[in-house]
Amino acid sequence: MVRNIIKVRNLKVSYGNRVVLDEININIKEREIYTILGKSGSGKTTLMRAILMLEKSKGIIEVMGMDLNKANREERERIKRAYGVMFQAASLFTSLTIGENLAVPLKENTNLNNDIVFDIVRFKLSLVGLDDYVFDLYPYELSGGMRKKAALARALVLDPKIIFLDEPTSGLDPVSADDFDRTIVELNKLLGITVIMITHDLDSFFGISNRACVIRDKKVLAEGSPYDIMHQDDEWLKKLFFGDRGKKFTQWNQR
């Protein structure tokens, strides 16, 4: 049986008196592509931020066998080094070039020479399908798709075990989105990285994810394969898969 790399039990997150997530239980297995689905504002990003230790939470979040809410600072730092994160807005440092952006994690964690760092950076850029010429460019000089790829490359710099993607394909055209999906699958296969992503993109959802969970009304509505999730008895999910947009999607797929 495949080991659970992340195990969440009875997780509760609240901002002041407002409870955002309650009694969340999910299992994420090693080397899988796991999707978090849910309405806008249902707390998907909050769940991700809780696992990333950016949000205070109650309950158990076990990452690689370590409970984050009980771990000490050193252990938390070690877990953080196993994480790679790509935020929704790509969030590259705008005042640094792409090369310098990717070099930041390496320079912060090691004292390697520049030429080794640059070689590693160029390798990671090539891994996500970016050419050498972007090395010297600033984020605002790149297109949205390239910026997202650069952000993905930065998330990969330290060879993370788990990579978090917040709406990786939002704002991309379908071709770029496909390209991005392919890159994610390749990385997942080649490097054995566990991928956790938040997405509304049905193509990504059916195309690349192995398992998924649906967050609804602060709780986990369902967890399982995309096929299981599609056949859940829930109004929002039915609207998602069989509503106007979803229908077109299935119609097109049948043609």
């Binding site: 705008t94 090691t110 390697l112 080794i116 590693i120 390798f123 984020p139 330290l158 060879d159 080649l190």
Partner: protein, 349 residues
């Protein structure tokens, strides 16, 4: 990580990740070897492989590691990296040209203000009264407490320093001339201008700069609205309203500061002070200060907005623009003040 050297072959055990590169780098430089054996490694990451491939030595690998190394080899670039490098003379030349360009663009900006200002006067409907009132509140009205405090203290300090000398000559009453003339002619307007250069110019630059970064200015343009109508003219007009009023406040508050000190340390009564004030200053003294107001107002508002429009699309550039805008507007205000002094001397005011 653990290292073993055996027949010119380095054997590696344990974790081989980016954190161990420095260690092996140090080790490799000390020993002579032909091969590196990775097959006993527990974990191996791509950064480490990038490093090993750079050494150009033979790698002995296990079946499991084969694929990972293949991926790295496929993506590794052999060409040296080309990074733009610039020399000293290039930098000097570049920044000189850049400064000249900035001046040129500022003149262009002034020209635009002139032409669009004429258009605005011909179509008074386009004037945004609400925005002007709002800006007067933010930049003028809200500055009253700090301005009143500063100018009160400046007036008091001048009177206090003068008091020691004047007492020696028994010329106590002339503290009135000292305070009123210096505050009304020079210090009042200058304090207002410098305070607003720090307070308003910076806020104008940030507002327009961030709007440029978030492409809000382009949105305004596509709506068929002239950005200057919304972003520049309300600021200029609001400054033209606020600065003279604030200068009057600074004058009054500064003289009151002098009055208090005169009473306390020189024994000049309030009655004497005010009577003397009539002789010390005339309407000319007041005008010499207040006439500077439109120029200061215009400089602060235009430099603040200009730097905002010059902002590039990155975070650092906003900080840079704000710094330049504050420094430049203070500089411009002081230069303008010097020019006014010369002109007033010629005119005999």
């Amino acid at each position: 990580m653990r290292l073993e050297l055996e027949d010119k072959r380095i054997k590696l055990f344990g974790n081989l990740t980016y954190r161990e590169i420095k260690e092996i780098d140090r080790y490799i430089k000390k020993v002579i070897f032909n091969e590196i054996d990775l097959s006993n490694a527990e974990t191996l990451d791509t950064s480490f492989i990038v490093y090993l491939l750079r050494t150009n030595k033979k790698l002995i690998i296990s079946e499991k590691q084969k694929q990972l190394i293949k991926i790295v080899k496929e993506n590794l670039k052999n060409r040296p990296l080309e990074i733009r490098k610039t020399g000293f003379f290039y930098d000097v030349g570049f920044s000189t040209i850049d400064k000249l360009k900035r001046l040129y663009y500022f003149l262009v900006f002034l020209g635009e203000i002139f032409i669009k200002g004429l258009e605005l006067i011909l179509n008074p409907k386009r004037v945004r009264f609400k925005m002007i009132v709002k800006d007067v509140e933010l930049m003028g009205f809200n500055a009253i407490p700090i301005l009143a405090t500063i100018s009160f203290l400046i007036g008091a300090v001048i009177a206090y320093h003068g008091a020691i000398r004047l007492k020696q000559f028994g010329a106590n009453i002339f503290v009135v001339d000292l305070v009123s003339v210096s505050v009304l002619r020079e210090l009042g307007p200058l304090i207002v201008a410098i305070l607003l250069a720090g307070r308003s110019a910076s806020s104008y630059t940030t507002q327009i700069g961030i709007m440029k970064v978030t492409e809000e200015i382009d949105v305004i343009k596509t709506m068929g609205v002239e950005p200057f109508d919304v972003l520049v003219f309300p600021k200029i007009i609001s400054m033209l309203i606020s600065v003279p009023l604030l200068i009057i406040l600074a004058d009054v508050s500064g003289v009151i500061g002098g009055m208090v000190v005169a009473k306390m340390s020189l024994g000049v009564t309030l009655r004497d002070f005010i009577l003397r004030l009539h002789h010390a200053i005339s309407i000319k003294t007041f005008l010499a200060g207040i006439l500077k107001a439109p120029a200061f107002a215009f400089l602060i508002a235009t430099i603040g907005s200009f730097e905002g429009f010059r902002t590039q699309k990155n975070v650092e550039s906003i900080g840079e623009s704000v710094t330049i805008s504050v420094v430049d507007s203070i500089f411009a205000v002081i230069i303008a003040d010097a020019i006014f002094s010369v002109i007033f001397r010629w005119l005999g005011i």
